[in-house]
Amino acid sequence: MVDILGIGAQRRRTALWLVALTAGLLGTGVFAVGTGAIAIPPATVARIIAHQLSGLGEVTWAPPHEAIVWSVRLPRVLLGMLVGAGLAVCGVALQAMVRNVLADPYLLGINSGASSGAAAAILFGVGAGFGQYALSASAFLGALAASLLVFLIARGGGRITSIRLLLAGVAVGYALYATTSFLIFASGSAEGARSVMFWLLGSLGLARWDALLAVAAVVVGGTTLFLTVAGRRLDALAVGDETAHTLGIAPDRFRLRLLVVVSLGVGVLVSAAGSIGFVGLVVPHLARRLVGAPHVRVVPVAALLGAILLVAADVIARVLLAPQEIPIGIITALLGAPFLLLLIRRLHGGTA
């Protein structure tokens, strides 16, 4: 059949992008692992990783290089990929849920909750019982509390509409932001305030081979899979609640399910890496530009794009002022803002 719908062409385009982005992600990953105070050639990086994974290959490198690649940089790069991918797909879901192109994963106030939790841990030692996970656990509990609060407020009228969700998220976000500020103020510790600020700006510095990385991998993988499978339903929801209903989807129930998945995902990511901005806002738009609007295609493409961008941003954060490390949130915001401006220009161009 002649492709009068233009579907075949788009499928080929998507397949091409998926292949290109997967290759790009691997390349960026190897490059990022090799970059740092001690530069390690990509070929060596690849051989070290292959050796660690399969035990094959001859050891031709200095043992410290192996430690740097495997124990220090690889978990950091992996966490970067997971956080980037997770924020991007959660952004996609939220933009569909509230039908707003400016929605991002932090819209629901989840990061403010995590920040309050982190501030409590850093300044007052809350969650010390969790040992090495004290900071992450406390941040996650904060995120959980924020999501629960948003959910309860948004549900006040019995059903969760997009506008109620937006308002509840903004209100909870501001309240918890104030809580964080108050905690900093009450602690009276300049050093503590500085630590909290660094955490707020995001960092992948906590990455190591631990349970947190595993949890992030499972959550990001699961979220991406769920959102891809739910692609058609997301398409319908993004058009409108009534449309979704006529297409056999209960919009309120579906939005509630999305809310649970997204809250959990964002909560875990923010606990692991602080609130890294702009990735979840900008990447969905980039993905749509590449492969069109259907979520079956947007979700995986956004995941790959987000992963690449965050790893690249982390490299910049590490090398720009080396040996000092710039908080990654500063880099993503600096890179993301021009994208956002472009987007605004395009929006106006579209309606003119």
Partner: protein
Amino acid sequence: MIQASGVSWRYGAHPVIDGVGVTALPGRVLGLIGPNGSGKTTLLRLLHGALRSPSGQVTVDGRPLPSLSPREAALRMAVVVQENGGETALTVAEMVLLGRGPHLSAFQRLGSADHEIAAHCLARVGAAHLGPRPFSGLSGGERQRVLIARALAQQATHLLLDEPTNHLDIRYQHEVLGLVRGLGTCSVVVLHDLNLAARYCDDLVLLGDGGVVAAGPVGEVLDPLLLEPVYGIGIKRLEVDGFLHLLFHPRQEATT
């Protein structure tokens, strides 16, 4: 067949629909007519379950609507609503393919059969050439035709349309309603234009002031004696070439 009995709906304290019953018979086109605010759209929403009536019940082919899962309901009733999703970035083809959703399980992909159905449905509304275009770039009339194509692609046993002739020029008003009539499926159409109702509906329900003023075959309901008090306008009924036509004129009433 869709049957509603004793259904109601109120916005705030104001009842729009109060204890209304309607029956849409198999193979016939039922028109819902009435002035602005008489509850035509609300009644249609009650029929397809976007609103749940606190009283009475709605059955589709004898099964109570609440007992059907959303997907089962979508396989029985395709609906063209007035919400048109103008902000979406989907293409026209993708918009129509959404109509195939109820036929697929969550893990199933759209297949070539779905694509053929979508292309065929677009062709039926004269929009085959629009396939790859972005939906948001279409005119109001083109959008309306695409949404009707989506409802057709849903291949449901009932078709419900909320003012489908909105935004359409005169030719497409007739083509779209002619198409609906030609389908032979049980259809319910909210219509403003009484002459279109006269030509393309089999049965009519005239709504006014919260309830049904008249219901029955077109010839009986389109009676100036019934219509004039409901619409508040003078009406003259003609029959030309075997078709009913209504002419309207302002009522000569004292304004004091």
